[in-house]
């Protein structure tokens, strides 16, 4: 039993990742540093950070609001709303990208409206933020919901009877109770956003030095026979993933019992 699991993990995870690590540093640290500090690579890192941080910010606000709405309120269509939240997990990111083009593309009324304003959505950063936010949407909601359910409504009601408004109650009572779940949700959303490829590949147009993220950079460099840069950028993404995993482990035990 244990042997099978080890072999499975070895072929799926350990060997490929070790090979990337080996290939990356095959010729020492110098080439790695050089490929990660080219203008194109630095720009890709910048774009990835920009898109991911916006997606995290949007989903943090939306995720907490949606979780409170689902757990604390009753409204028509709540079950459908709740089911819709999970949709991004089921739909392929490529489909998400195509769907966004159908709504915001240059040939649609909505797309033309933003184009005329001078802020195109598709083949530009706003579209990439939308696509990334879409695919990472459920993570925040699903982290916060069970904690809200568990702490119950009584602390909030006690705060109301003591005179606290809805805003004061959220700030002083609800948020402190869910903050570790929310922090965990932020980390998960960030991890998912940094690694997003499919949806972003479709809506970005993959324009080098303009809309190229790290994942797109890896693919583009690899196809152009610049394996060294592709490995270096892959290693960079993997390193961030490990960092994120460490952060998650640091956050987990601090959750209130």
């Amino acid at each position: 039993m244990r042997g099978i699991v080890f072999v499975y993990l070895a072929f799926l995870l350990v060997i490929p990742l070790s090979l990337i690590l080996y290939r990356t540093f095959e010729h020492g640290v110098g080439p790695v540093w050089r490929s990660l500090t080219t203008h194109q690579a630095l720009h890709a890192i910048q774009i990835t950070l920009f898109v991911s941080l916006w997606a995290v910010a949007l989903n943090a606000v939306f995720g907490i609001t949606a979780a409170i709405l689902i757990v604390r309120h009753d409204f028509r269509g709540k079950r459908i709303f709740n089911a819709l939240i999970d949709l991004p997990l089921a739909v392929s990111p490529v489909v998400v990208g195509l769907a966004l083009i159908l709504v915001y593309g240059r040939l649609t009324p909505v797309g033309r409206f933003f184009d005329d304003l001078g802020h195109p959505i598709i083949f530009a950063l706003p579209g990439m933020v939308l696509a990334t936010a879409f695919v990472s949407l459920p993570l925040m909601v699903r982290e916060v919901m069970p904690v809200l359910q568990e702490i119950g409504v009584e602390q909030e009601q006690a705060a109301w009877t003591l005179g606290a408004s809805a805003r004061q109650t959220f700030k002083r009572i609800t948020f402190p109770s869910i903050r570790w779940a929310a922090a965990y949700g932020v980390v998960l959303t960030l991890a998912r956003s940094l690694g997003e490829f499919g949806a972003v590949a479709v809506v970005s147009g993959r324009i080098v030095d303009k809309t190229q993220t790290i994942t797109l950079f890896v693919q583009e460099r690899y196809e152009n026979f610049d394996a060294q840069s592709a490995y270096a950028a892959s290693f960079f993404l993997a390193a961030i993933a490990v960092l994120v995993l460490l952060m998650m482990n640091l956050l987990r035990p601090k959750e209130p019992d």
Binding site: E154, Q155, Q157, A158, A159, G163, A164, S165, Q168, R172
Partner: protein
């Protein structure tokens, strides 16, 4: 401050929680809402606090219409069965919460909270988190927190329901003393008749969303309005088809007018009382006697006794035994 709930109706889907309930709670009194669970007493309390909205009816607090006021503006203190302690705040900050919301000066908050913590005997625990307190201590903290904002009325929802028997008894006595000192109009919900009888000035008995009877503990015990109230407030048994308190039954030496013959089934000694299980014409009944009486009679299973309700036996109104 008086509370009046007038013609309150409340339904949850198909379930009728309150059915045209009217209750009048005099200023400065300590009132128990007593009844079986699901009887609507907690719902009524939450309607008074504004935590639940009635489908129809009016709530008057101190003569003013509070029906449409939010809980924030009713100035009621509310204590929950499971304490509803703010888990991330220490005892001091829990009690200070309402005063901080009202933006009172720091020095005033410190004085008032210290005073309240002394009142509930938690002055040594000001820096503890709720998780570091026992159930009884948490509930005392919740009470201090509710009292901090000087509420016009204090509402307690099964306040001792989650505590063990010993602590429950202590807190009961303590709540009564606290009320005698503070005189704030207090309503508490309980399903424990002993608790209601011991603590309250007035008891409102509720069942199935309706008020069954309102009165002082003595009135309810001695003049129960119906069989439900009579059986809810104390032990009952049946004699000739009517409810009687088992300690209101006499055991006679000879058959007399009005007495019936009973067969002893079982004799159980509980402390200084002796419970004799009987069978009368195929019906089960029981009688409660003192040890003295039991020692004189020496009842044994199979013995025949003559039973009669005593002259001053308690019966439901309009149904003398």
């Amino acid at each position: 401050m008086a509370i009046q709930a007038l013609n309150i109706n409340k339904r949850f889907g198909d379930f009728t929680a309150l059915d045209d309930v009217t209750v009048d709670i005099p200023s400065g009194s300590l009132v128990a809402l007593l009844g079986p669970s699901g009887g609507g007493k907690s719902t009524l309390l939450r309607v008074i606090a504004g935590l639940e909205t009635a489908d129809s009816g009016t709530v008057l607090i101190n003569g003013e219409d509070a029906t449409r006021l939010t809980p924030q503006r009713r100035n009621v203190g509310f204590v929950f069965q499971h304490y509803a302690a703010f888990k991330h705040l220490n005892v001091f900050r829990n009690v200070a919460f309402g005063l901080e919301i009202r933006k009172r000066p720091k020095a005033e908050i410190k004085n008032r909270v210290t005073e309240l913590l002394e009142l509930v005997h938690l002055e040594a625990f000001a820096d503890r988190l709720p998780a570091q307190l026992s159930g009884g201590q948490r509930q005392r903290m919740a009470l201090a927190r509710a009292l901090a904002v000087e509420p016009t009325v204090l509402l307690l929802d099964e306040p001792f329901g989650a505590l063990d028997a010993q602590v429950r008894k202590e807190l009961r006595t303590w709540l009564r003393r606290l009320h005698d000192e503070m005189h704030v109009t207090t309503v508490f919900v309980t399903h424990d008749q002993e608790e209601a009888m011991e603590v309250a000035d007035q008891i409102v008995v509720m069942a199935a969303g309706k008020v069954e009877q309102v009165g002082s503990p003595d009135e309810l015990y001695e003049q129960p309005a119906n069989d439900f109230v009579m059986s809810f407030l104390g032990p009952v048994t049946r004699l000739n088809g009517k409810l009687v308190r088992p300690h209101d039954l006499e055991i006679l030496d000879e058959p007399t007018a009005g007495s019936v013959e009973a067969t002893v089934v079982r004799v159980v000694r509980i402390g200084f009382e002796v419970r004799i299980d009987l069978e009368i014409d195929g019906q089960e009944a029981w009688v409660q006697v003192t040890r003295e009486v039991a020692r004189r009679l020496r009842p044994a299973p199979g013995d025949h006794l003559n039973i009669r309700a005593s002259e001053h036996a308690i019966a439901t109104a309009g149904a003398p035994v």
